[in-house]
Amino acid sequence: MFHSLLNKLSRKVIFTGLLTTTLLASPLLIAKGVYQSGPDFVAEVFAPAQPEAGVLWFNDDIRQQAEKILGHRVLGLRVRYHQSGAKTAWILNEIGKEMPITIGVVVDRGKISTVKILAYRESRGGEVRYPAYMAQYQGATLTDRYKLDKSIDGITGATLSVWAVNKVAALALYYHSQVMSKPEAKE
């Protein structure tokens, strides 16, 4: 019955309608998945304090360790961060499957206090930005093997995106430890 009704309505009209609707909506194209700008993130996580901007230069040790954590080459000569007391904030990019995910990480006294997805450009796995997923990282520290000490429950079909966030969270913890071990680091 249902089948014959659909036949009468003409499937092609439905198909054409669906295609036309999407094409008409095309002028409204909006860049996918930019949820917060870097400066806004930094201002939000340190408020009301005014953080100082810092630069961590890559020496051989830092670069090698960062590459071990990420599992690939680290490009660039330095990484920028913001700091107020023993709290540092990092905005890092890491590719999930194909596209870079922009991730904000705040580390306070060696523990993760915030992980937030600032931009997500992959087609699948956007769930990773939900507060429930990000909350899993709170309190995580770095093990002796430079991995997170907490197990993170993933997303079926988007394992690579979760791995990318795990790696960036571990990397921010490592960078934080390097900043804090500088002689002029403020505790």
Partner: protein, 401 residues
Amino acid sequence: MKKQLLATVIGLSFAATTQAATPSIEEMWEIIQKQQAEISTLKNQLEQNDSRITETEIIAEATVSAVEEISLAPAASNKTHIGGYGELHYNKLEKDDGSGDKDTVDFHRFVLFTSHQFSDSIRFFSELEVEHSIAGDGQVGEVELEQAYVEWDLANNKSAKAGLFLMPVGILNETHEPDTFYGTERNAVEKNIIPATWWEAGAALSGELSPGLSYDVAAHSGLFLDSGEYKPRDGRQKVGKAKADDMAFTGRLKYTAIPGLELAASLQLQTDMRQGEGEKIGGTLFETHLAWQKNDFQLRALYAAWDFDDAINSIKAGADKQTGFYIEPSYKITDKFGVFARISEYDNTAGGVTDSAIEQYDLGVNYWLHPNVVFKIDYQNQDNSAGTGSDGINIGVGFSY
């Protein structure tokens, strides 16, 4: 720094002058004038040095930025991506009735992904596959285009696509890289009932209704059952000069608000799987699944059921209902080593009076040499009421990148 230098200069000058005989006021005035001139010269030099240091800092910053820009540019500006996966299988299976054994080695799938980002909001994705290693006239394998679509974002969390794409049904159909699932071979239920891997040509809309609740709707080409065929797997036209007289529609709702949990249900309507040839056979597919990961434990469970028009029974009795389910618990003992068990059952003539269900038990391990490289070994035992089941082992190696 400046003050220290000036003080030193003044101090030295003063010490030098006091060693001589006490000068007259005129001489003192002359000395002071000379010292003042020296101070002015030194001040000028310091200012010039300061300005040079600032200039050097600016140049250094510009150089570092330029170096970073060059070194980071390839990653950021690369709009075309290549990826892929592959899996080699060894199967050693013995038939329960002794009618024949399977003892084969097969490079089952070799796949290349190519994608291109036209702009921030428009992209293309494709998957080209060589199945069973060799294709051509009289060969066992095939070359297949499994995905080739353009996707564009209509708004945040809302996108459309058009082209050839995978059906939003089941767990494996859209995500089937070998390192993402247990078992050397894909499970028999999704293969024989859904039927994975399954792609069609058409248009689709995807989006979020609320955080954690997403939808997909698609209008696309349908299955075609040639004379004598009754299984959905036989009906895949693979978008090769496919009959497009009668279309099909698919919808899916997916709930992923809780970390580690995916609950989904899909409904598909086939308007006529005979594509206008002979008596019409319409059908609906209902599929629902759960994929739940908690720490090292994972559970996958899936149920799929086809309901076809009675006309299909004239091709094969009982084919109006075709159903299947599986339950697959697994446990990761370490980051690299996981064990699984799977109980599955499917029936392509479930509408009949006789027991035609095929049951299968699988037990095995995955060892991930790298997160994207996996070795697999499993034991499988398939039984049916006719006693023509089989059992044996499968060994595989797979990768994705």
